[in-house]
Symmetry: C2
Subunit: 269 residues, 2 copies
């Protein structure tokens, strides 16, 4: 782990990241000692920092620190946390505070291979996401809703939880973005009121554009999701998982998802 560039494992207990969750983060794959899809990952980090008016470290600094960590753990999952740093008491950010950056690389969880092929079982979380347009889409450190939702199920029968919002719209997985295929159209939830708009979601939208497939960002109801031909989840750690079971309904064929997964696996895209 590198903290502000130096090897370490602890941060100042007065950091605003701890006090208020005042920061953002990224979780991404490392392959061959390098961060995968780095340009997109950095662009999203920069965008999230900018939304919270946190000064973002340069791409060069972060990339070289990830490479340094990649020397001892060349394949794995990197996590980058950027906080507004330590500042005087109180919610109001002070102009002087210096960003804290925490970078780490750890081994990747060994998921069964059939998650990517046959798919995963999706549990419908009882928790409904609240609306906060000013924070929607941002991968910030205020993640108690995800923590509570993720504690609704246990064990290996279910691989991910589906989150709806207070208005009953489908938003995504607790740690992934969701897509559905209906006919020749790809749909993904509107994340302007809540949810996190991840890098893999943007990549799938690019796949659609490159392949002449219409991709609609929409308010999706649970009953519409149930009518989908295919449903799949994406994130930067597991890539793409088709959904094989949702609310008691099973799906065995995922030709569209398999095609998109293959495209996503090629880092050049």
């Amino acid at each position: 782990m590198l903290i502000n560039g130096a090897p370490g494992s602890s941060i100042n207990a007065e950091d605003r990241g701890l006090s208020y969750g005042d920061g953002v983060f990224r979780t991404l794959r490392m392959q061959g000692g390098r961060p995968v899809c780095w340009e997109r990952q950095y662009a999203k980090l920069q965008q999230d920092c900018s939304a919270l008016k946190i000064s973002c470290p340069s791409a060069l600094v972060l990339f070289s620190e990830l490479q340094q960590l990649g020397k001892t753990q060349s394949e794995g999952v990197a996590k980058i946390i950027i906080t507004r740093g330590v500042s005087s008491r109180g919610y109001a950010p002070s102009a002087q505070s210096e960003t804290t950056r925490i970078l780490s690389v750890s081994p990747i969880a060994a998921y069964p291979a059939d998650y990517a092929r046959q798919g995963v079982r999706l549990y419908v979380c009882k928790l409904r996401l609240g609306h906060q347009p000013l924070l929607a889409g941002i991968k910030h450190l205020n993640r108690l809703e995800n923590v509570l939702a993720s504690s609704e199920w246990q064990g290996q029968d279910v691989q991910e939880g589906l989150l709806n919002d207070v208005s009953g719209n489908v938003i995504g997985g607790t740690r992934s973005n969701l897509f559905m295929l209906r006919g020749k159209i790809l749909y993904t939830p509107n994340l302007s009121r809540c949810g996190v708009a991840g890098v893999q979601r943007a990549r799938v939208m690019d796949w659609a554009k490159q392949h002449g497939v219409a991709c609609s960002v929409a308010d999706i109801r649970m009953e519409e999701l149930m009518l989908a031909d295919e449903i799949f989840l994406v994130n930067s750690v597991f890539g793409l998982w088709p959904v094989c079971e949702l609310a008691g309904y099973r799906r065995t064929e995922h030709p569209g998802a398999w095609k998109i997964r293959e495209w996503l696996n090629d880092e050049r895209h």
Copy 2:
């Protein structure tokens, strides 16, 4: 500062308090080396921990650690942070994680004396609080809404920001609870959808009970607030501040607020 009972100033960078804001906190006064209103403060801490299924350290441990800190800083502001601790990756809490406790005491900010007597100017924040009934009332570490709201104004012309929710109900200050007096009735916002239900709010409600004053927890609209005879804010650091200016409207008489403030200043209540 004491971290898990030992003098220190840093925490494990993998603590869930930092990763997800997965914890709660209290800010309270220290007087004569002892925490003020300790029983109420501890009860609220315990209640908040319980709501998030975080195991709360015992009152004895926390009290004796605060007393220890009180030896070098007998008058000041104490902060207690309790997090779910360090656990394996991912949002889902693991059963094994051990609570982290971070206790500190710092000097109290020197507020001008006329804030408590003549009152403070209240700015109406543009940010609207989102609804999340599962987190409402809890003083948890997900405080980005408060951070963003508090960065809407600067300087000394305004002492606190007024927060409304997405439905247009008044919720309170960015760091305080709000009351209004209309006729012989005391009103305070309903905090079942958002906001923090602080210890001083509970004490004011007790004042009302003891003095035979009706206290209504209600959905309050801005236009109703403007018609109040008196408006005041409470928190455990500044105590009670009447509001002397809100949305261009000035108030100079605060007899009710002064009476309640005097009662609150007596720790036995």
